[in-house]
Symmetry: C2
Subunit: 392 residues, 2 copies
């Protein structure tokens, strides 16, 4: 048995909140397809989601059920907190075949359990849940009444408990170490792939006291012309003598992610970079002045926008999002977004990654913080100098 | 512009094969949702698929169209081979919102292009294409006639060209280096996370001549009780004095993945491990004797099964699958599977990762090869001693 990241009471509290929301919406069975949500509820952890995998939460006070590939039920027994009979494997002869689908089997399992005629809430925008899987599930449950349950669990995840915040603090230490390592290894003539190798090694080895985990998004280091494109991967390109490089890195501890973006300058800092950095750092101050319980998400963005407009700058995309349990391909929670129109009222326990990325024509800078909303204001969990790091 | 992995003729040949298959099936527009297929067709490469992203292939001989988030169109201009107007960004205000969906915008774009009343083939089992996205796309294209196009592109990908095989050879070198690194760093008392950090650094840094890429599945090293569970991730657990450890590693070059699994033994090799390894290595010989043009996938598995049954062993799961262009969460191509019932006739240019994983009760061993089907037989692209590596 791998040590659970949390005490059982934590899982019971989560289930209590989920069931209260289910009751409010008239949902008697929740089908959880989002892998991060599955982990949040059960503790299950494995790289097994390339075949279908669901977690079932019945409204009554019984343990949830994990169902995945038979081969991976062994991992369920090692990582999930439920009793062994609540870790269920579908047969190997259902894996990636044209003539049958794991969802046929899962639907039949739900019917056999007596849950086939329930009001079923389901997540329909989970990354590894396909349209075909959904069609097969629905066909196998002809008596179910379906409810859209997208983000039901995510919104509960948006408020973190103290044990969760403790992991986010550890993750923040790893994010800081990753940026520090990037500052060390990136230099003119060094290949991007060698820099990424060193950074990722730091992220994964973690600290002497705890391991690092895979980051949901791989490290991005955007230099040269790539700096205009936020999600380009590395290559064997060598860093130039004079180059502005945006680093978007993370630290992850027991699946909890903290993001930290910083920018470094090789050679001489161009005036446009210095000017933009000044505006962005001032913008971050405005963000931090505005994040407190009772502010809306859109008010935070408005405070930022006011600053950068004064500097003659503009940014189309949102400037932050809720962050927490993270599986690839995304460490955002898809709930709170810091942008116009998002009227979410921030509350203690929310954690947002505010990322001020300015991707200009052929260059760019990024500065971010992972920010906890406290009872009275906020705390930046990531603690690292914000200035552009010049290496000449 | 990032250097394209292939000459334009290679992409034109791929499109020719795809269009021939579209014509055969009466498909006038193909909507490609699978990220690996998108890369195969366009060269587009970025970690941007956590928001919706499609590639459109019209039947007429014009360039395909990439559509993704506006922020990522910059990456499209740097990595895809098409002209700039065929790289299209949907507006930032469509990202992760309850009141609108990127697929609304994409459907409207298709209608505006005059393709709304076509016979449209679509991939419905792609990892990052959700049931909700599909519903919105269909609602926005009321005059389309829909065709199931799952695996249409994947089956074309199953036959590799020489330039693709050249990348798979490079990837195989990196896979071998990753296993060699694992043999070096894993020892009693070493933490799993530190071993993984070193292995992943080797995978990503690559060779002095070319970069390594992210592997679609992270490295798995399964020791101690975890060895019964094939897809468990690492932790800060320390390797024991006597432990059998299964390594499932990969090397990736320009997105082409080669898999290589090996097993190492810390301390004294138990008889059960030695006996099982003997059976598995003999089973691999049977696999390699049976892989040649004209064999069926199921015949390869039958040859393996005959051997291990003679040793009194049994394996439920398939023993291999087609491998090539790989994005997380899977490096398999979902076409050829080496298992009973798969009557695919192997042909020159197929590449399979044959993985003989025996996950027993509390221990396990894995031995694999990435195998190219040649004109006359086969060639193991991965070249590395198969014996269990004992470190005492």
């Amino acid at each position: 048995m791998i040590e659970l990241p949390f005490a059982r009471e934590e899982y019971q509290q989560r289930l209590g909140k989920i069931r209260a929301e289910m009751a409010k919406r008239g949902i008697e069975l929740l089908i959880v397809n989002d892998v991060a949500n599955q982990h949040y509820i059960t503790g299950y952890d494995g790289w097994s989601f390339y075949t279908p995998q669901v977690v079932l939460v019945p409204i009554e006070e019984v343990e949830p059920v994990w169902i995945g590939r038979a081969m991976d039920a062994a991992g369920g027994l090692l990582t999930a907190w439920m009793k062994p009979e609540n870790v269920v494997g579908f047969p190997e002869d259902h894996v990636q075949r044209a003539d049958r689908h794991p969802m046929d089997w899962i639907a039949a399992w739900i019917v056999a359990k007596g849950w086939g005629n329930r009001h079923i809430g389901i997540e329909l925008e989970a990354y590894y849940f396909s349209p075909k899987a959904h069609v097969r599930l629905v066909a196998g449950l002809p008596n179910a009444k379906w409810h859209d349950a997208d983000l039901l669990v995510n919104w509960i995840r948006a408020v973190k408990s103290s044990p969760e915040i403790a992991y986010l603090r550890k993750a923040s230490r790893l994010a800081e170490a990753a940026v520090a390592r990037a500052y060390e290894v990136i230099a003119p003539g060094v290949r991007e792939c060698d820099a990424i190798a060193a950074i990722q090694a730091a992220q994964i080895a973690g600290s002497p006291d705890f391991a690092g985990d895979i980051t949901a998004l791989p490290p991005t280091i955007l230099g040269g012309e790539n700096a205009s494109a936020p999600h380009i991967m590395w290559s064997d390109r060598r860093f130039g003598k004079d180059e502005t490089i945006a680093l978007e890195l993370a630290g992850v501890c027991r699946r909890y992610a903290a993001g930290l973006a910083r920018t470094m300058q090789l050679g001489k800092m161009p005036a446009r970079v210095a000017d933009t950095a000044k505006a962005v750092i001032e913008g971050m101050d405005a963000v931090l002045d505005t994040v407190y319980p009772g502010t809306t998400a859109e008010a935070v963005e408005a405070a930022w926008r006011k600053v950068i407009e004064r500097h003659g700058l503009k940014k189309e995309s949102r400037i932050g999002y809720s962050i927490g349990v993270a599986y690839p391909p995304d460490w955002g929670e898809h709930t709170i977004s810091l942008r116009p129109g998002d009227k979410t009222v921030l509350q203690p326990g929310n954690v947002v990654h505010s990322i001020l990325g300015m991707w200009m024509d052929g260059w760019g800078i990024e500065i971010s913080e992972t920010i906890l909303v406290t009872e009275t204001g906020n705390e930046t969990l990531t603690k690292f100098p914000r200035d552009i790091h010049v290496k000449s």
